[in-house]
């Protein structure tokens, strides 16, 4: 099994497209860093008057709270915001800015969507290309079970995706430090859980951010991998994967008036909806979404397994 994964890694690492993807990720971070540093409103904003800003913000929160027209949800948010801001003022903890080390790392979290796209491309190619190149015939006449070969491909794609995430984190951290100084590295992240405020390391917060975004990523890779395995066609797998990645959420939005829409994969991929705001469809809970996601994950993998192990190799 270890050898099979090494084989898949060798094939991925000698494929030029893998490194082009990696290069694009690094390039975007650099461009994003330079743009944030030298242009844009935050570059010019003077530092140091954050306390005054927070006080103005608190005024707005207080107004919301006294306004009877405001929905309960907004009021809850305002209460939390107020508590956090007061904690900041009391303990002299500056909020994270876009033009600071952690602000930049957090902002660059958006690149994960691009990594998801690249992961779909990899997942879409890794099985289908063995068929289109004809190499599948030489691959499957070895004393390895087919499911092990399939699993090694899956592990390899997920591994390279994690590597891209790691590159994203390290490069954006280093670049953020170089451009906006490393001195902000110790800034804590404040968690407000019903009035009780705790300071945690920013890395924990960033990991949470990456983790939540990676759910969508893993689901899309698994889907592309399944299409790649069932249809044995990489363009189809990549095409459908990218299509669903970009419009899946929009389509789900249109369908939210139907109660069955809560079973759609895309209604559940964003777990952040339970942390900050209203669920997409009424009656959805975090637990429900996790069950739906796990169910989709298992179904996709079972279909991949059957598509790969039970069928004749016709090429």
């Amino acid at each position: 099994m270890v050898n099979l994964v090494r084989n898949e890694n060798m094939k991925l690492s000698h494929s030029i497209s893998t490194w082009i993807m990696m290069g694009i990720v690094v390039l975007i971070i650099i461009i994003g860093g330079l743009l944030t540093r030298f242009t844009g409103p935050e570059a010019k904003a003077p530092k140091g008057d954050w306390k005054a800003e927070l006080k103005i913000q608190n005024q707005a929160y207080k107004q919301d709270l006294t306004n009877p027209a405001m929905p309960k949800m907004v009021k809850d948010g305002s209460v939390k915001g107020l508590q956090t801001n007061e904690y900041r003022l009391k303990n002299d903890i500056q909020p994270v800015q876009g033009n600071s080390l952690w602000g930049f790392v957090e902002g660059m979290g958006g690149v994960i969507s691009l990594i998801a796209l690249f992961a779909i491309v990899m997942g879409g190619k890794i099985v289908a290309n063995e068929f289109s190149e004809g190499t599948i015939k030489l691959l499957l006449i070895r004393p390895s079970k087919r499911w092990k070969i399939l699993l090694s491909k899956y592990i390899s794609v997920v591994g390279y995706t994690l590597l891209m995430l790691l590159v994203l984190f390290i490069v954006s951290f280093l670049l953020g430090g170089i451009l906006f100084s490393f001195s902000g590295a110790s800034t804590p992240f404040l968690i407000n859980s019903s009035g009780k405020i705790t300071e945690v390391n920013m890395i924990v917060h960033i990991m949470e951010l990456y983790g939540l975004k990676s759910i969508n990523l893993i689901m899309m890779v698994t889907l592309a991998f399944m299409i790649s395995t069932v249809f044995r066609n990489s363009s189809m797998a990549t095409g459908i994967g990218v299509f669903l990645l970009t419009v899946g959420n929009v389509i789900t939005m249109f369908l939210t008036k139907y109660s069955w829409s809560k079973y759609i994969l895309f209604a559940n991929t964003d777990l952040n909806q339970y942390i900050s705001g209203d669920p997409l469809v009424k009656g959805m809970t975090m637990k429900f979404s996790i069950i739906v996601l796990v169910a989709y994950f298992i179904i996709f993998n079972i279909i991949s397994y059957i598509g790969f192990t039970k069928r004749d190799i016709a090429v």
């Binding site: 050898n3 099979l4 090494r6 084989n7 060798m10 094939k11 000698h14 494929s15 030029i16 190149e133 004809g134 190499t135 015939k137 030489l138 499957l140 006449i141 070895r142 004393p143 390895s144 079970k145 004749d312 190799i313």
Partner: protein, 308 residues
């Protein structure tokens, strides 16, 4: 000398939908022999080979390699098999060595040195660290043979191995297979639709048509056990020789072919016939046995060039 039975194919049938692709196929292949699998395009050669290598499932029947059932005991059965199916499709963006390393990693207990051994066997030492996309077809074919030999197989299966090879390449491959069968006592199965190739390469030939095994034929028997041979005589004057032969026996059925005259006769009777011709004042410049080619036999057996 008959070797150990390596391949057993028992009543194998393959249906795709309602179409019968392979119909009750049964044959054995022994170690040390080159078994030719001959048939027109679409007869079911590749399907049979894919079933033997576990790439396709069987609808009915069983296949054993070295005693192991290919479906129930796949890993053990396939461990001692090397194969090339159609073209040797390798990873073009990897080097020759990386390709071999890739397949070597898939065997649990083959020494790493074996990679260098097979490279030496096929003579690719100089180009082994170049990417496959820079290889000629002949070199790819050789690397294909190298990967098939990695696990020191007891059975080598080659599907249409000479496709796209030039005559020198075919010659080389033929010698390779012969040597492997004889010296390493490997059983070799080669499929082809090219009859002339099979004549030169194989010890036995199974002829398949429309998914059915029409006949299994030992090559030497096939070529030698002829009661009557075609004999070509170079004579002058050719026309009177023809008339005379016709008057001797109806069975000769003489045909003038350029400067030769071809008749059908048992070789044992040829000296007498030569004497008779000389007695008639006919000058003889040459007597030659024309080998009846497998092609003719093949066409007889399969009833022409019909594609199943």
């Amino acid at each position: 000398m008959e070797g150990k039975t390596i391949v057993q194919i028992k009543n194998v049938t393959k249906k795709i939908g309602k179409k019968v692709i392979i119909d009750e196929l049964t044959f054995d292949v022994h170690s040390g022999e080159v078994f030719g699998f001959l048939g027109p395009n679409g007869a079911g050669k590749t399907t049979t080979i894919k079933m033997l290598l576990g790439l396709m499932s069987m609808t009915k029947g069983e296949m054993y390699i070295d005693g192991f059932n290919i479906e129930k005991d796949f890993e053990k059965a396939i461990a001692k098999v090397g194969g090339i199916i159609e073209n040797p499709d390798l990873y073009k963006y990897l080097t020759g060595y990386q390709n071999l390393l890739h397949f070597w990693r898939m065997y649990p207990d083959i020494k790493r040195e074996r990679i260098d051994e097979v490279i030496k066997i096929v003579g690719l030492e100089k180009r082994i660290h170049d990417k496959i996309k820079t290889y000629s077809l002949g070199m790819r074919q050789r690397l294909g043979v190298a990967q098939a030999l990695l696990n020191s197989p007891k059975l080598l299966v080659l599907d249409e191995p000479t496709n796209g090879l030039d005559p020198a390449g075919i010659h080389e491959l033929r010698n390779h297979l012969r040597t492997l069968a004889r010296e390493e006592n490997i059983a070799v199965i080669v499929s082809s639709h090219l009859l002339s190739e099979m004549e030169l390469m194989c010890d036995r030939v199974g002829i398949i048509q429309g998914g059915k095994l029409v006949r299994i034929q030992d090559m030497r028997e096939m070529l030698e056990d002829e009661a009557d041979s075609i004999v070509a005589l170079t004579v002058t004057p050719i026309n009177s020789a023809k008339t005379y032969l016709e008057s001797l026996s109806g069975k000769y059925n003489p045909k003038i072919n350029d400067k030769e005259i071809e008749i059908l006769e048992n070789m044992e009777n040829i000296p007498d016939l030569v004497e008779k011709l000389v007695g008639q004042g006919i000058k003889i410049y040459g007597v030659r046995k024309v080998q009846q080619s497998l092609e003719k036999k093949f066409l007889e057996m399969t009833g022409g060039n019909e594609i199943a």
